[in-house]
Symmetry: C2
Subunit: 389 residues, 2 copies
């Protein structure tokens, strides 16, 4: 068990590397690994570069273990992927979706995509080790159910686990989408960072927290709800009932609303043209206009980035993370958004907490969410399994 | 080792309780404890209430182990206590102090008080197991040194450990005062809460964070620096250089300044009289005037509490703690301060993160800091020691 978890969390490790991570003697590690290879749980995957002497064999979880399926639900999008145990993607599909359609509609589509991806790759549902699902709302991790999700009320207390579990006879694990982005990055980093944040800016704004090397969910699973931190006491009313919430002023819909206003006021020819062409504006249109040098679009992006940075400055003073990774659809508006976030944080936070702080877009990019669903599925399946060692 | 730590962290436990906390068999636990009693490390301390059957013996660390000394330095105060291994206080002393006088002056006084307290109780310096020290600034925990402390620049990188270690030939452990308040409460709670905050409102404002059952210090040891979170973008300039910092608007000196203004403007007879009598006003004067029903004093307390609550609302959305404990000198202004903090948080935070949130004054009260220094000293000494088991 512990050995398999360690192989999973240390991409491309050698026997020696594994022994040192586990604080086992080389003899003990070698003998355990020989047993796991014999059982078909671990496989050798080519030679590593030599650091002098014989080149060590790379170890990874065996493909024969099966596959994991991950599905990352955003408010308006859906990503499904079938992955090997080492999370290399075998097949994936992304499409638009509307979570407000309710769990019946959305999960039926998720199930259908999962079946199609398996069938197209000659895989049977029985080969599925586990399923990981990310959802854009607060999750009670133990039950795998959403709790009072503001964007998707019909999902409240719906048993996602039963619905998908029946279809595949595999364990189903559910977590908040931003927690899963954080888990994905933690896995990519092989836990080399212990304390960092992942901010998702999309239809909503949320934050995944890694603390002491583990994803932190808070006392009731609602940690990271930074979208409803107040950034302007004279700001507009948010759907949550309060005024001046970050989400109401800097998430995708707020950016689209600012763009609409700029177009209608004649402040931007680019945005006015885009509005005429499609009848509505999105954050992507603002990104396009900004790339074309549109001043109004740039100002909108700077305003949104600056507000996200204002929230982050408070959070950084409180939490003192080593890194902040920013992901989600809005980051596709381009580098100006990140520059505005940074400027706002560095201007506002204490020297000590920002001296070594790195703020960047999520290295896993659009794959952060779906990678996280794979990590969740694989990690929890290994924890559940009666596999030896 | 592990057994001693567990005895230390579980006040008044029985053999059975200990076995269950350590996940040992009762036979194994009994045999280890018999050995520790024989070595004089653990002692029996009377019978517990029976839950049917024979009444179990209470176990605690043996007094023969020695004593620990804790010193809690605030910006303007100094508390020193000599404690038994179970942190019962043998003797203590509190007095005013000014950390800005520098480490030479302040630590000489700390050392003198430590010697006096030992001598008055017939204890020799050789009986000191360890020393714990809390300081009002950011600490690099590994070196035990302050790092760029804004309130006490002369202490930057001064080796507190060498200074006190030489005098007592005992290991010295240093941490931020608010982290130690959090550690003290964590010990009092016997780790029954995993995720909570301790806010200290005194000359400065800081926050101790307990995450996954451990004190969390952040990537650079500056986590919890909530005093410089912006609560009013049009607010006054803070000594840190930014504007509208909570500390500049709601800590002790800001409360005193608001009181002075109220007195000078003729808004409060109580405060004007107090100002005439002593030439200066403090938060304690505002508390006294408030208890006498002075409306201006009440308004000042409500304003400070409300600003602290505004910061807390953001922090609670981000961290979703189960409890927030508020301590520090300013809390002595009375219950109106706490009521204002609560009102502000519950008004502003998301329903999910506040549904089960408890906000109260620190249960350890003014002892939270000095208890924390004792926990630090005892815990780290047990970790260092070659004691068996």
């Amino acid at each position: 068990m512990e050995v398999l978890q360690t192989v999973f969390w240390s991409a491309a490790t050698s026997r020696t590397g594994l022994a040192s991570r586990l604080a086992y003697s080389r003899t003990k590690a070698n003998s355990l690994i020989a047993g796991l290879i014999e059982q078909g749980l671990v496989q050798e995957a080519g030679l590593q570069a030599s650091s002098g002497g014989r080149r060590p064999e790379t170890l990874q979880l065996a493909g024969e273990l099966g596959v994991v399926i991950g599905a990352d639900l955003g408010a308006t999008s859906l990503d499904v992927a079938v992955m090997r145990p080492d999370l290399r993607i075998i097949a994936s599909r992304s499409e638009e979706a509307d979570v407000r359609a309710g769990p019946g509609v959305v999960l039926a589509r998720v199930r259908q995509l999962m079946r199609e991806l398996l069938a197209m790759n000659g895989l049977s549902p029985r080969q599925v080790i586990a399923i990981g699902l990310g959802v854009p709302g607060p999750v009670d991790f133990a039950s795998g159910q959403l709790v009072n999700p503001p964007l998707m009320p019909e999902w409240d207390a719906f048993s996602i686990r039963d619905y998908l579990g029946e279809a595949f006879d595999a364990p189903v694990f559910v977590d908040n989408d931003v927690n899963l982005m954080a888990l994905g990055e933690l896995w990519r980093l092989q836990r080399s960072l212990q304390n960092f944040l992942v901010i998702k800016v999309g239809t909503g704004i949320g934050c995944g927290i890694v603390c002491h090397g583990e994803v932190y969910r808070g006392a009731n699973g609602s940690a990271g709800d930074v979208g409803h931190i107040c950034v302007d006491q004279a700001g507009p009313r948010c759907h949550c009932g309060n005024v001046g919430c970050l989400e109401a002023m800097a998430a995708g819909p707020a950016i689209a609303a600012m763009a609409q206003q700029a177009a209608e006021r004649g402040e931007s020819r680019s945005l006015a043209e885009a509005l005429r062409a499609t009848g509505r504006l999105t954050a992507a249109d603002v990104g396009q206009a900004s790339r074309n040098g549109d001043a109004a679009a740039n100002a909108i992006i700077q305003r949104a980035g600056s507000l996200v940075g204002q929230m982050l400055a408070s959070v950084v003073n409180f939490f003192n993370p080593s890194h902040v990774f920013i992901g989600g659809g809005v980051t596709q508006v381009g580098p100006l958004f990140l520059a505005s976030v940074r400027q706002s944080v560095y201007h506002r936070s204490l020297a000590l907490s920002t001296r070594h702080l790195e703020i960047q877009y999520t290295p896993l990019g659009t794959h952060a969410g779906v990678t996280g669903t794979g990590v969740l599925a694989m990690q929890e399946a290994l924890r559940l399994s009666g596999a030896p060692a």
